[in-house]
């Protein structure tokens, strides 16, 4: 059990508003990244993140330190965002866009510009992945969670998490190779 987390949680339960603000500051990046990746809707991101933290506030007395506080908050963010996606019932592209325009030769000649283009291209392609793929990619690479933690957050078996992670990265690599000339990578 992390003693800093334990102290923070007990202060929030006692009614310390500053402690709750600190908790939000420590985890807002995680929640915003997850919600943005899962919903693919920047305009609703802040509202959904507010809903996540209100649920954290309402249920914090139930947190029993079986996992890290970040993992518990990520679980709430995952479920809230997923519920939003299901409610919206919007068509999301589950197939990768194979017609992404190639980067221009002029741009890719400069290594800095190439790296920026790669960064943007990768994040555009992530948005086109199935929701579970992009969730796992975000939690593993951006939030540096372990496979066991991702299993806790998503409720998927560890084998499935591993499999989805492998397939998502393979798909993204292939798209990267299609978009940029092989020799320029």
């Amino acid at each position: 059990m992390n003693t800093d987390d334990a102290l923070l949680v007990s202060r929030v339960i006692e009614g310390d508003a500053l402690a709750f603000r600190t908790l939000v500051q420590q985890h807002e990046r995680l929640v915003f990244h997850m919600v943005h990746r899962i919903t693919n809707r920047a305009e609703d991101c802040e509202d959904i993140c507010q809903e996540v933290f209100m649920r954290v506030f309402q249920k914090i007395h139930l947190f029993n330190f079986q996992s890290r506080l970040a993992t518990w908050i990520a679980t709430i963010a995952y479920r809230t965002a997923l519920n939003y996606v299901k409610k919206e019932e919007k068509h999301t592209a589950h197939t990768l866009n194979e017609e992404m325009p190639m980067a221009s030769k002029e741009l890719s000649a400069q290594q800095t510009m190439e790296r920026q283009s790669v960064h943007e291209a990768v994040h555009q392609q992530i948005a086109r992945l199935p929701v579970h793929y992009r969730t796992i990619i975000t939690l593993f690479h951006l939030e540096e969670m372990s496979l066991q933690e991702i299993q806790t957050v998503t409720g998927m078996p560890e084998g499935t998490v591993k499999n989805y992670l492998f397939r998502a990265r393979k798909l993204l690599k292939e798209q990267l190779q299609k978009q940029f000339q092989q020799e320029e990578l």
Binding site: E28, C45, V118, H119, L185
Partner: protein, 133 residues
């Protein structure tokens, strides 16, 4: 002879940080660039500067509403209990009810003092304890 890695092998080696930055294999290089991009946040996600402050204010508001609703619930229970007790006395033992009615000023005063103490407790003590900022 140059070793050809499968996608799975390359990913495993990169996860374990067992591949050199100088590796020139095209597949490995593609994965290295991908991993670098994956580790960076997307540029279109911006967190409002006052977000945590806003959340703390919302939480305080919600907590106040919760306490207010709870207090109203308890007041309702107490007043209903008193009312039902008096009604019960009226129907079951009217002489005692009329005896009590002679001292109604005392009872009304007691009830008012009790409610005043409860209100003071909420406004002066509990409200201060709840959500100090």
């Amino acid at each position: 002879m140059k070793q050809v890695h499968t996608d799975e092998q390359i990913q495993k080696l990169l996860d374990q940080k067992q591949i050199s930055e100088q590796e020139r294999d095209a597949e490995v290089r593609a994965y290295q660039l991908l991993y670098q991009a994956l580790g960076q946040p997307p540029s279109d996600v911006s967190i409002p500067e006052n977000f945590s402050q806003k959340m703390a204010a919302l939480a305080i508001q919600q907590q106040k509403q919760h306490v207010r609703r709870q207090s109203l619930r308890w007041m309702s229970v107490i007043i209903s209990s008193i009312g039902l007790s008096m009604l019960g006395l009226y129907y079951t033992y009217p002489p005692f009810f009329h005896y009590l009615l002679a001292y109604k000023d005392v009872f009304i005063f007691t009830i008012i003092v009790f409610l005043a103490v409860q209100a003071s407790d909420y406004w002066l003590v509990r409200k201060k304890q709840l959500w100090t900022s």
